[in-house]
């Protein structure tokens, strides 16, 4: 640490940072625009000016931009200096010259960084009396709205979009006071991270287009800390409600997980909560019922006994545990196919019993050599891809350091580094959008990817089993990858369940373990398919096939399906056949789907926004989400339905699990893997009240005046310290319970500065979440030996691999109104060479027979697919029940091709 003097007060600062960063970390209010902790400094806006003095005797000093000046030992500055303050006010005056002052009708109003800074500098009245420049706005797609007239030219949008997120279709055009930030022409933004523009833009140029449809001011939102349910990463979010409806989701900073950014699936997927498919009332044989009736029905079904339960990888631990408790652990089954469970359990075992640590996303970003094996990261775990994109800057940072350029001096670093990128290798079945940062890419069928992985492991440590029969071309690649990983200080292997190949997972582990054996601190990152995949597996449920077995054996049984559309997991005909033996099918879920349609009793389960619970992400981190909506009478947490059902059936007494904390205590006591779950967030009794509503929340007494003029009593929340009110206790909220970031004078999302120990670092009371899995300290692990044989293309058959789409492959976000406009149409992807052999042309229909089902699909040509391999978008109806990878047959639409095979 260095001692610097701020207005003559000695303060401790990190000399590796710039003065703006240091001052903000020390709690000073210094205005800024172009700087961002994740983007560094470019010195464009000139808003952060302070007076710098050479030494104690220097009284004149000179103005410097704090963001461009290192916080070196002995630096003396003044923030309050009259000249500096006047200059900062002048900068705001300049920025406001063309600004429309349309705060009352601007979506950013009330959480606008420009408003905050304007107030902070004391600029009040407009001296500029000439006309303002005006722009035409663009249509940027269904997610992000554009209002260029508000722009203050801070450069942040393009710096984030292009430099940070790797996008190309947004740019700055023209010059002087006339710079235009947008696309070359109207059109949907291509980046998977475009929604971050909403938060990166310090004013209302880029705003949330989905919020616009049901707009509410930030101060009128009732908010709660939440966790994204749209992939396995568990990004932290803030969900906001008004009038009983979920209005939006924004990023909630967690240094270890998502940092400052979300992906568009995570930000805009929330709209599924208000989808027309939403189940708002219990359904009995397809007809709406009231809660009491439903519970009676549920109770009587349960009292018949013989119930079995199918859990869910997208339901909370608490919901799964409630079901497990209700039916008994020996009658609790995994909500995923056996094939998938046999991927998840090994991944967990690898991370717990092997020597390599599962990486947090912050670790991912700071890795200096990466090997991605089998994953299309951007479409499967998008924010991890964004972090990986930064990781290739780690190694070249040394070039900048050699030139004495500090890391935060962003443009200078990028100029010095040019295209240099750290070692980054991708081996996957098809090309991915991260390929542009890869040192080399390699495409192969899953078995061959596994062989590649095993071979790399062997090259790192020759006691790992050898892979025979490799081509010389492979040998060079293997040598390059292993050398880069061995040479790195923080190597990382990324893999996961996406190829649905256990060998790929084991191969990835093998590499990390070989590196560990060679003394390198290798990390391992597995993606998981759903938001609680690991949580479910940690409960060690029985295999799904055994559930079906037991249904066949006991035809009178009751099946309870928790938040799970089984028809997405297997072909419809198969599933229908399996369920035929069930006497009573009870389903708890949010949206109408094939499973709820098949049910006798459907119970409306609260979504993430309407319930509390814990999810375990792909890092193995358990994180709690909290209710943002005071849900309607009929919708409630799955675990409450299950509890109340068991009470109704007389299986339990009322006293059990009055609150979430009770349930969590019971769960921690019963399942050893969950011993730490109570520590994920403080219990209700451990902290005082925390308001979900900002202290400027308006209309409280009038909101429901059309229903009753009596202000309703705030609903009690038995499950958490968060209150459905504006009233808070005196203490600061612990980080896992921060419902929104706000500090006096800081109404925008930048208020998060005030919650971090060091700006851009961990939250002051620790980042939310508890890691449940750590690597084994013992050295008893052993290398895997099952190396698959080389993939051989079958004549007349193609191996269909899943192709992932950020919009479409995930079940719930697909039903969000904005995202629904961005879904791909179903298609089959073929290598052009093979397509031409079949006489198939892009855009034409072709017959696909897979696992006995016949589809007619549009052909998409993808030159990146290996020979003998074809691709199918995964998760998209009508293909969502197709289990991939699988061999298929293809034929032109005219040709005879029966469901049993080619003619």
């Amino acid at each position: 640490m260095a001692t610097i003097f701020i207005d003559n007060a000695p303060r401790q600062a990190n000399p590796k940072q710039n003065l703006l960063h240091a001052c903000l970390s020390l709690g000073y209010d210094l205005p800024y625009f172009c700087w961002h902790p994740a983007l560094g400094s470019v010195g464009a806006c000139r808003q952060c000016a302070v007076k710098q003095f050479r030494d104690e005797r220097d009284t004149a000093g000179k103005l410097v931009m704090a963001c461009m000046t290192p916080a070196g030992e002995g630096t003396r500055i003044s923030i309050t200096d009259v000249e500096a303050a006047a200059f900062r006010a002048a900068v705001i005056q300049g920025l406001m010259q063309n600004h429309p002052h349309d705060c009352p009708v601007c979506d950013e109003g009330g959480e606008c960084h420009l408003q905050d800074m304007t107030v902070m500098t004391g600029h009040r009245s407009r001296a500029y009396s000439f006309g303002k420049r005006t722009f035409r706005n663009q249509y940027l797609g269904p997610l992000v709205n554009h209002e260029m007239n508000r722009c203050i030219q801070c450069q942040r949008c393009v710096r984030f979009y292009r430099n940070y997120a790797g996008g190309h279709d947004l740019n700055a055009f023209r010059l002087r006071d006339n710079v235009y930030y947008g696309r070359h022409e109207d059109g949907i933004l291509e980046s998977e991270f475009s929604g971050n523009l909403v938060e990166i833009c310090p004013t209302g140029v880029f705003t949330d287009a989905t919020l616009k449809r049901h707009y509410t001011r930030k101060w009128d939102l009732q908010m709660a800390p939440s966790i994204c349910v749209h992939c396995g990463l568990g990004c932290n979010t803030t969900a906001g409600e008004r009038y009983g409806a979920l209005r939006r989701v924004v990023n909630r900073y967690n240094h270890e997980v998502n940092g400052y950014f979300l992906c568009d699936r995570g930000r805009f997927g929330y709209e599924f909560v208000e989808s027309s498919l939403r189940i708002r009332h219990p359904l009995f044989n397809g007809k709406a019922a009231i809660k009491r009736e439903a519970l009676e029905r549920f109770g009587s079904i349960l009292s018949e006994g013989n119930a079995i339960g199918i859990g869910s990888p997208r339901a909370s631990l608490e919901a799964n545990f409630a079901l497990r408790t209700l039916v008994g652990s020996d009658r609790f089954f995994a909500g995923v196919l056996d094939e998938d469970l046999q991927l998840l359990s090994p991944m967990l075992r690898i991370l717990r019993e092997g020597p390599a640590r599962s990486a947090s996303l912050d670790d991912v970003e700071h890795s200096d050599a990466v090997f991605v094996l089998g994953e299309d990261v951007i479409n499967i775990a998008p924010v991890m891809a964004l972090r990986l994109r930064q990781s290739v800057r780690q190694a070249p940072m040394r070039i900048a350091a050699g030139l004495h350029i500090p890391e935060w001096l962003d443009d200078a670093v990028r100029e010095a580094v040019q295209d240099a990128k750290g070692p980054f290798f991708i081996a996957s079945p098809y090309a991915t959008k991260l390929d542009d940062i890869a040192t080399t890419t390699h495409r192969a069928a899953p078995d061959d990817l596994a062989r590649l992985g095993f071979a790399v492991a062997h090259a790192i440590d020759d006691t790992a089993p050898k892979v025979t029969g490799l081509s010389p071309e492979w040998d060079t690649m293997i040598a390059a990858i292993s050398a880069a990983l061995l040479g790195a200080q923080r190597p990382l292997i990324v893999s996961g369940a996406s190829c649905r190949s256990r060998s790929v997972i084991e191969a990835a582990a093998q590499i990390a373990w070989a590196l560990r054996k060679a003394g390198r601190p290798a990390n391992l990152s597995f993606t998981t398919p759903e938001c609680n995949s690991f949580g479910l597996s940690l409960m060690e449920p029985r295999a799904l096939s055994e559930a079906f077995q037991s249904i066949q054996n006991e035809p009178t049984s009751t099946l309870i399906v928790l938040e799970n559309d089984l028809f997405r997991r297997a072909p419809a005909s198969e599933m229908t056949a399996q369920l035929r033996g069930v006497q009573h099918l009870v389903v708890l879920d949010h949206l109408v789907n094939a499973t709820t349609e098949a049910a006798e009793l459907v119970l409306p389960a609260g979504t993430f926004a309407e319930s509390d619970g814990t999810l375990v992400n792909s890092e193995g981190r358990a994180q709690r989400f909290f209710q943002a909506l005071d849900h309607s009478a009929d919708v409630q947490e799955s675990w409450r339905w299950l509890r109340e059902g068991s009470v109704a059936a007389g299986l339990n007494n009322e006293a059990q699990w009055q609150s979430l904390d009770d349930l969590i205590t019971a769960m921690a006591a019963e399942i050893p893997a969950f011993r730490a779950i109570p520590a994920v967030a403080p219990s209700r009794s451990a902290v005082g009240k925390i308001a979900r509503e900002p202290n400027r929340y308006s209309g409280r007494t009038a909101m429901f005046a059309n229903i009753s003029v009596h202000e309703p009593k705030p609903v009690d929340d038995p499950d958490s310290a968060l209150a459905f009110s504006m009233e808070s206790g005196p203490e600061a909220a612990p980080s896992s319970l921060i419902p929104f970031f706000w500090a006096p004078g800081w109404n925008s999302i930048q208020a998060v500065n005030k919650f971090q120990g060091e700006v851009g670092g961990p939250l002051r009371s620790g980042d939310p979440g508890v890691r449940l899995i750590e690597p084994s300290q013992e050295s008893g692990w052993q290398y895997f030996t099952a190396i698959p044989p080389q993939f051989k293309a079958q004549p007349g058959e193609w191996l269909l691999v899943p192709i992932f789409h950020i919009f479409g492959s995930e079940e719930l976000s697909r039903h969000a109104q904005g995202i629904a406009q961005l879904l791909p149409r179903p298609y089959v992807a073929l290598n052009p060479v093979e397509a031409s052999l079949l006489g198939a042309k892009a855009g034409e229909q072709i017959k696909v027979v897979v696992e006995g089902a016949l589809f007619e699909l549009e052909v998409a040509l993808r030159a990146d697919l290996p020979r003998g391999v074809a691709g199918l978008p995964t998760g998209l109806p009508p293909l969502d029940g197709v289990m991939l990878p699988a061999f298929c047959k293809l034929a032109p639409t005219g040709a005879e091709l029966s469901a049993r095979g080619a003619s």
Binding site: R46, R176, Q418
Partner: protein, 424 residues
């Protein structure tokens, strides 16, 4: 009087041919330099006290000495001739390139040799098509004679020289913006430090030098620093190409000893004011320098003395204001130019100049208000050196701040009379 830079110019304004150039001692400086160690060439230039002719007057040899040299130095290293010449009122580099292209090329080769550069670019402003043709031909000739290319004259030193045509914008003359332009990007300036000498074009060590500066280098190597000092009337060595435009009798360009008094240039060389006109002021070194007035006429035109008088030598090409021309109108014209050319990167510049230009225009239209004077003077301080990202904005307000001082009455008349007194 010796005129090393323009002495060979042909009266018919055609380019000096390679044969003529060689006959007049051309490429001797290069031969001499190649026999020396690169560091010795830099040393000579340092001793000559050659200062940059692009406007800032930074000592050239000192700039070169920041370039990493030796085995470990990053390569390729670059030398860039700043031939962007877009400062209004400036027309000296065009003459040097059109009329004696080999001189620039030889200067570049010797300079490149001194810093061990591998590649050179001439960054030429887009409208200078005649310069382009003549330089392109001269480069081809020099390559054919092995003054350029691989293993120059058997010395083991190689240099590739490219001619790059710019696509406009004054800011491209700023050396770091120029680098962005050369890299095919939007030309906003870059942060300094790191200086281009360390991390310049494509992140590699780069020297950017004005055309006129480069044209001096091989003469210095050939004839020595003492000779160079001897050319000058002051401590800043060499000759300087001075120019005069505006309503003088004989506008033009002259190569004269550095430090020639302004009066001598305006009266003896430019022939004084046209009949019936009185001298009111002058921008001594292009559009971005402060006005000087009658009392300054005896200022020797060198870096130090012009600065003492309250302005900058700049490019040494003067724009003269006469008494029949409206000073407010002239300042409006200048600020219109600057507002239009601001790159838009930093707030004070893009906002301040737009406002300034609008006020001056309104004043000329008879719509000025007394508060405008405060705003104008405020803007000159707001856009002061250090407050903006680059030197563009401080330069832009130099003529304004001095005009507010020297022509205060004229501003007042515009406001009081609600019209421009010079317009019918």
């Amino acid at each position: 009087m010796e005129k090393p830079l323009t002495g060979n110019f042909r009266a018919d304004k055609e380019a000096v041919s390679l044969a003529e150039y060689e006959r007049a001692g051309g490429y001797q400086g290069l031969r001499a330099a190649l026999l020396m160690a690169p560091a010795d060439v830099t040393e000579l230039v340092k001793r000559s006290n050659l200062r940059g002719r692009g406007g800032a007057g930074f000592p050239t040899g000192m700039k070169w000495s920041f370039v990493p040299m030796g085995e470990d130095a990053p390569h390729p290293k670059y030398l860039v001739a700043n031939a962007d010449e877009m400062e209004p009122g400036t027309f000296k580099d065009r003459a040097l390139m059109e009329r004696d292209p080999h001189q620039l090329i030889e200067g570049m080769i010797v300079s490149a040799y001194a810093i061990d550069a591998d590649i050179g670019y001439i960054f030429l402003r887009g409208e200078y098509e005649r310069s382009y043709e003549r330089l392109a031909r001269a480069i081809a000739e020099a390559e054919a004679r092995n003054y350029l290319g691989h293993n120059i004259l058997g010395s083991g030193y190689s240099l590739i020289l490219h001619l790059h045509m710019s696509a406009g914008r004054y800011i491209c003359g700023e050396e770091t913006a120029l680098l962005n332009a050369l890299e095919g990007k939007r030309a906003h300036p870059r942060t300094k430090p790191p200086f281009p000498q360390v991390s310049g074009l494509w992140g590699k060590p780069t020297i950017v030098q004005n055309v006129e500066t480069l044209c001096n280098v091989h003469h210095i190597v050939n004839k020595g620093p003492e000779w160079f000092h001897g050319l000058s009337k002051t401590e800043d060595g060499g000759t300087k190409i001075y120019g005069v435009s505006g309503k003088v009798k004989r506008p033009g360009l002259w190569e004269l000893p550095m430090g020639t008094p302004m009066r001598e240039i305006l009266e003896d060389h430019a022939g004084g004011m046209r009949e019936g006109l009185r001298f009111r002021g002058v921008l001594p070194g292009g559009a971005s320098t402060d006005f000087l007035v009658e009392e300054h006429l005896d200022t020797p035109m060198d870096y130090g003395n012009v600065q003492k008088a309250g302005s900058r030598l700049g490019t040494g090409t003067m724009v003269v204001l006469d008494d029949q021309t409206c000073p407010v109108g002239m300042v409006w014209n200048l600020e219109h130019f600057f507002a239009q050319e601001s790159c838009g990167w930093c707030t004070p510049c893009w906002s301040g100049l737009a406002w300034t230009e609008k006020i001056l225009f309104a004043m000329e239209q008879g719509k000025g208000s007394i508060h405008d004077l405060e705003t104008l003077s405020f803007q000159t301080k707001f856009l002061a050196p250090g407050n903006t990202f680059c030197a563009f904005a401080p330069g832009a307000v130099e003529p304004l701040q001095s005009a507010l001082k020297y022509f205060a009455d004229d501003f007042r008349r515009h406001i009081d009379e609600q019209r421009c007194p010079w317009r019918q």
